[in-house]
């Protein structure tokens, strides 16, 4: 009964979404507010019904309703409570429901916030949001029905993919999907702007914060994904250029580009076409990413699911892109720039270059990800390009972006004078050069590492310089130092939020550099009581112990780690899930600011006499997580409503 209710709710929601999209459009065309109001009610109905769908599916999970195929596939009687809830979005069908629910939630918030403020745009925004919702509801009812029954009903389910039994997997999809779905809002406003011909700044101003919100969640999702990869997958890395990661990274890159180019349009009335194109591209990439990862076109350790929905997403993507391009062509004449570039050495050019590089990086990632598909389709040979390709092409781009991160915020608009350059950049450049010499003297001889660290210091110096100057101005007006700093962050939260984000990126860059350049590892087999040494650490194999957990068996080794004095005992393990053919490694680690000790149990003798371990000393990886926190804090600061000057 419950599954039928869920299925019914989805069908009614689909009908409502279609009606709402149509009604809002008609209302806008005919100028009848009653129709727009009806669309608004339809959107509320969709939200209520999708909430019911999600709740019903959750209920099916909590009550072990194995007559539902999706429940039987993704949970079993041993699955702990938390993972029965998160199991809801552990695979394709439930993910789509969660996605749809978030989209309906965003639609609701758009209604609450913009129904008065965005008069002309609003009905069309509603049409687009409801149209996208209708597509996802179509996927739920036709292509990937989460409530499909299973005959005969099994006594127990298969169980969640054990790799997903991790707190990171509770939050990672939620954050990522909030990012993805959030990007629908700027897209809807962009479409509305094109349809109404109001391609000026109104849609930009209204969606700016929406984009930052989506960007915040997308960044958070990517970071949690990296953390999950690092502490669950047991290969010691946080980013593999896997198609699934790339799928989330591409829209992040174009959304980042958009967040920067917005400022050019606000300030100089340029790049209207470019901004619209970026928003369309970003939204298209979220759909493309879903197509890529959920259709099974690319075999990947992450791509857990396969199905017929590939065609759905590809078809919808084509529809979206064709419509958007058609609208752009239709409004072509209105999209010309009112301002013009005055000089190559100006803030405009720095931002423009930043955009070019971000989009180039997105293109590179796109190219590398679809390359195997292209080569198979065009030449009949399967060729793949791995991490070396992505690193080789992206590292120069990212270094360039870091450099621009220092230049962009301080260089003058229009035309930077020699004096402006000297005033803002002489100090930071000298600091950067001194840093390069310092790191070289310290024994860093990799050119790439020295360059990255020097650039990082240069950018940090520009941020410090700007912040110090602004604080001094306020302090001179009689404010005490600390409140002056706080007031600065709060009053100009967008500018300084941006600086904090940049600072986070710098810290991440240091972490990536360190982990790539200086991490070391060894793999060895130890008898009981034997030890191995790496980078000043000694790891001794003490013992092997087995235990029975709620839904799996666990064999854990005990390894004493010391660097002269005993630091502690690490217990990496292998987990045996009855439903899986193979064991799953469980990593143990000791995190540190300078380095992590990271231990993976590879193989062991059944009598416990010997264990094969992979020992890694990973340098500066913690900086990535710290940088991630700083970055998201900065984005959070930028989201806050801007306060008007009161004092």
């Amino acid at each position: 009964m419950i599954p039928e209710l869920g299925y019914g709710a989805a069908i009614v929601a689909l009908g409502l979404a279609l009606w709402g999209a149509l009604a809002a459009a008609l209302g806008a065309r005919t100028g009848r507010p009653a129709l727009v109001l009806s669309a608004q009610h339809a959107a509320l109905g969709v939200f209520a019904l999708v909430t019911a769908c999600l709740a019903l599916l959750m209920y099916a999970f909590l009550t072990f309703d194995f007559s539902v195929r999706y429940v039987a596939t993704n949970t079993n009687l041993g699955t702990p409570f938390y993972y029965r809830i998160t199991g809801v979005w552990g695979a394709l069908e439930g993910s789509i429901i969660l996605w749809t629910w978030m989209l309906a939630l965003y639609t609701l918030i758009v209604i609450l916030r913009h129904r008065e403020s965005a008069r002309e745009l609003y009905p069309w925004v509603l049409t687009v949001m409801l149209g996208v919702l209708a597509f996802f509801l179509l996927v739920i009812t036709v292509a990937a029905p989460p409530f499909a029954r299973l005959h005969p009903v099994p006594a127990d389910g298969h169980g969640l993919n054990p790799l997903l039994e991790d707190t990171g997997m509770i939050t990672h999809p939620v954050a990522l999907y909030l990012g993805f779905t959030g990007l629908t809002v700027p897209f809807a406003f962009a479409m509305a702007a094109l349809i109404t011909g109001r391609v000026g700044d109104a849609w930009l101003t209204m969606t700016r914060r929406w984009t930052i919100v989506a960007w915040y969640f997308l960044s958070l999702g990517l970071l949690i994904g990296g953390w999950w990869s690092y502490h669950v997958l047991g290969w010691g890395g946080y980013w593999a250029w896997d198609p699934v990661e790339n799928a989330a990274f591409m829209p992040w890159l174009t959304a980042t580009a958009f967040l920067h180019s917005v400022m050019i349009q606000e300030r100089r009335r340029m790049l209207k076409l470019w901004n619209l194109a970026l928003v369309i591209m970003t939204f298209g990439l979220t759909l493309f990413g879903t197509f890529l990862t959920r259709s099974g076109v690319i075999a990947s350790v992450h791509a857990f699911t396969q199905g017929t929905i590939g065609a759905f997403f590809l078809g919808f993507l084509a529809l979206v892109l064709l419509t958007a391009l058609g609208l752009l062509a239709w409004r072509w004449d209105a999209l010309g720039a009112q301002g013009a570039l005055d000089s190559v050495v100006s803030r405009e050019s720095a931002f423009l270059l930043n955009n070019v590089m971000l989009v180039a990086a997105a293109f590179t990632v796109f190219f590398g990800t679809v390359f195997p598909l292209l080569s198979e389709a065009l030449r009949g040979v399967k060729v793949s390009v791995g991490a070396p390709f992505f690193n080789q092409v992206n590292v120069p781009l990212f270094l360039g972006l870091i450099f621009l991160m220092g230049v962009g915020p301080l260089i003058a608009w229009r035309r930077a004078s020699v004096d402006n350059l000297r005033r803002n950049f002489l100090g930071p450049v000298l600091t950067g050069v001194a840093a390069a010499a310092f790191f070289f003297a310290l024994g860093v001889h990799s050119a790439l590492a020295v360059l990255t660290l020097a650039l990082t210091v240069f950018v940090a110096a520009t941020i410090a310089l700007d912040f110090a100057r602004a604080t001094r101005v306020r302090a001179r007006m009689g404010e005490p130092l600390l409140p002056a700093m706080g007031g600065l962050l709060r009053r100009h939260n967008r500018r300084y939020g941006g600086f904090v984000v940049h600072l986070g990126v710098l810290i991440i860059a240091v972490g990536v550099t360190g982990s790539q350049a200086w991490s070391v590892q060894t793999e060895t087999t130890l008898g009981r009581g034997e030890s191995t040494e790496l980078a000043g650490y000694r790891v001794r194999f003490e013992d092997l112990a087995a235990s029975e957990e709620s839904n799996h068996f666990k064999v854990a080794g005990a390894f004493t780690v010391s660097d002269g004095r005993v630091l502690g005992v690490l217990r990496p393990a292998k987990k045996f899930y009855p439903q899986e053919q193979s064991p799953i490694a469980y990593v143990d680690y000791r995190l540190g600011l300078r380095e992590d000790i990271y231990l993976v149990l590879g193989d062991f003798a059944r009598d416990g006499s010997r264990a094969t371990v992979k020992l890694q000393v990973n340098r500066l990886v913690s900086w990535i997580w710290i940088g991630g926190l700083v970055l998201t804090a900065g984005a959070g600061l930028a989201i806050l409503p801007e306060t008007k000057r009161t004092a």
Partner: protein, 144 residues
Amino acid sequence: MRAKFVVGGAVIAVALTYMIYAGVTQSAVYFVTPAELRASAVAGKAYRLGGMVLPGSLRWEPRTLDLHFTLGDGTATVPVHHKGTPPDLFGEGRGAVVEGTWSADGYFRASLILAKHSEEYKAPHGTSQTGYKELIRTLKGEGR
């Protein structure tokens, strides 16, 4: 003014195209089956070799970390050598993809093993559980 930006854009486009081209030519890895590898193996060239780990071919020496096995596709077989622990999803009778180079000595030197993950639904069965219970008993009996 406009000309400067056009030139700048062209320079960037050319540089990017070159980087992508160089990146692809340097890091492209061809995916081959054992039969295809046998037909046209070039020593020292990087391949991604996919096949089934033939039953009875797996030899694992924990002390030296030597892993030997044979990948087959029904028509041809290729001996593979890898230095390191077999990954979790790896095993006889299962699919595996290995990345590495063809050695002139007549075997494939794998630097990376990507075991294949199968995701089809299967009912839980009791036999493997008893296997694990026995494992635990052995460990508890002799490991303490």
